[in-house]
Homo-oligomer: 220 residues x 2
DNA sequence: CAATGTATGTTGAATATTCAACAAAAAGGA
DNA sequence: TCCTTTTTGTTGAATATTCAACATACATTG
């Protein structure tokens, strides 16, 4: 059996698991070790989102870069921390964020799908319950990500457009209803309600959207 | 055996688990059903954070109310969704947010600590691995919450002070180092770097903080 | 230690937001 | 339907932010 790196045994994710257990998990998850130089981008937005990363040494930052090039640091993972788990365990296909290593780092990547293998008995539903919970927490985490993606814009207009385009994408249509009234939407976007109303009116006059109350339509 | 409500069997958390399995989980988690009237506050900020809620019918909203009375809707959970799991599975003692039911709702509350009972074998580390992952995802979710708590403030000054007071609390001291340089802090707070520097200077001149680079001290 | 590059601080003009107050429209009840 | 309440839209003044440009301080390396 291969030697298990000390850092891995000490990681929170694998703590309390026997060497045999860890070896089995690493094997079925096709574990692969990455060496990252300072400043290197470990994972680029758009790449497949099916793996969890365990930081063995160093640090990685989770970064969202918008089309204008503005960076927003969504989080960081130091030695022993993991990243990518929300995306790997939800049904997201590709990374909406990038992972960069601001210092030299060592990272172990695990394929998330490898986990479900060999867990048949589901004794008393305890494993299934946990898998359900993990999936739910993953997608909830993503919804936080979405909120941050929206609220991290600097202007009411940008926040509103970001929110509406996400809603349209989720609805699969340029025409959709939102689950908020004006005040709730303003609370969600973290902006002033009257300013939000004004901005909606402006977008409407500019022909960019059509709307009535909670019903919206985005024109191209 | 008690009848398992249909909504519970259909909930994502308990899907794919046999009736016996569900009954066992409900029993060991001291499941209790709540009936909530429209507008009712289900859980108030400050209450113990040791239970997961499953929404059987209706909707609940997760709300943070700051000292000035401004509301920020952090999320919502509809029928079949769960809430409170991040707090229940992290080591947070009390709820930092409130849960309100804007419509009539039925909710099943489960005690999170009940889960760990009767799962001794830890076959191949698979259960332990999942419990580790759940704990990690829970605390990561909380860090998103913290970022939102900070970035949802409307002014640079408020964001900065909210961030610094959280850092001070985490450090357990009024004096501490932050893990960001100015540009990174500005990215995290979602504000302009020069405006951030200006605000730090102003707080310094007003005697509210002392600081040098990444080292800060909050004066009362 | 000097030179260079990077990080931080400062400023003023342009722009955007918030706030308060009110108008208009829609919803709900009697 | 009429009246009341709630929601949404509109406006202008006060305030805050962003942006760009530059000054200063700090760090690094040769």
């Amino acid at each position: 059996m291969k030697i298990i790196p000390e850092e891995l045994k000490n990681s929170e994710l694998l703590s309390g698991i026997s060497e045999e257990g860890i070896a089995g998990i690493l094997d079925s998850c096709e574990a692969r070790k990455l060496i990252c130089a300072s400043g290197e981008t470990v994972i680029r937005a758009g790449e497949p989102a099916d793996r969890i990363g365990i930081v063995l040494s160093g640090v990685v930052q989770i970064v969202r870069t918008d089309i204008s090039g503005n960076n927003s640091i969504l989080g960081r993972a130091g030695a022993g921390d993991i990243f990518g788990e929300s995306l790997a365990f939800s049904d997201e296909a590709s990374m909406p964020v990038s992972v960069v290593s601001p210092v030299d780092s060592e990272i172990m990547m695990l394929r998330a799908s490898g986990l479900s293998r060999g867990t048949d008995p589901y004794a008393g539903g305890m494993i299934r319950f946990r898998d359900n919970l993990i999936r739910i927490m993953a997608s909830k985490n993503l919804s936080f990500n979405r909120k941050i993606e929206v609220t991290s814009r600097r202007t009411t207009r940008e926040k509103l457009l970001a929110y509406l385009s996400i809603q349209a994408r989720d609805a699969g249509s340029r025409e959709f209803d939102i689950p908020f009234d004006r005040q709730q939407l303003a609370d969600y976007l973290e902006v002033d309600r009257s300013g939000l109303s004004a901005e909606i009116g402006k977008l409407r006059r500019q022909g960019i959207i059509e709307s009535s109350r909670s019903h919206f339509k985005i024109n191209v």
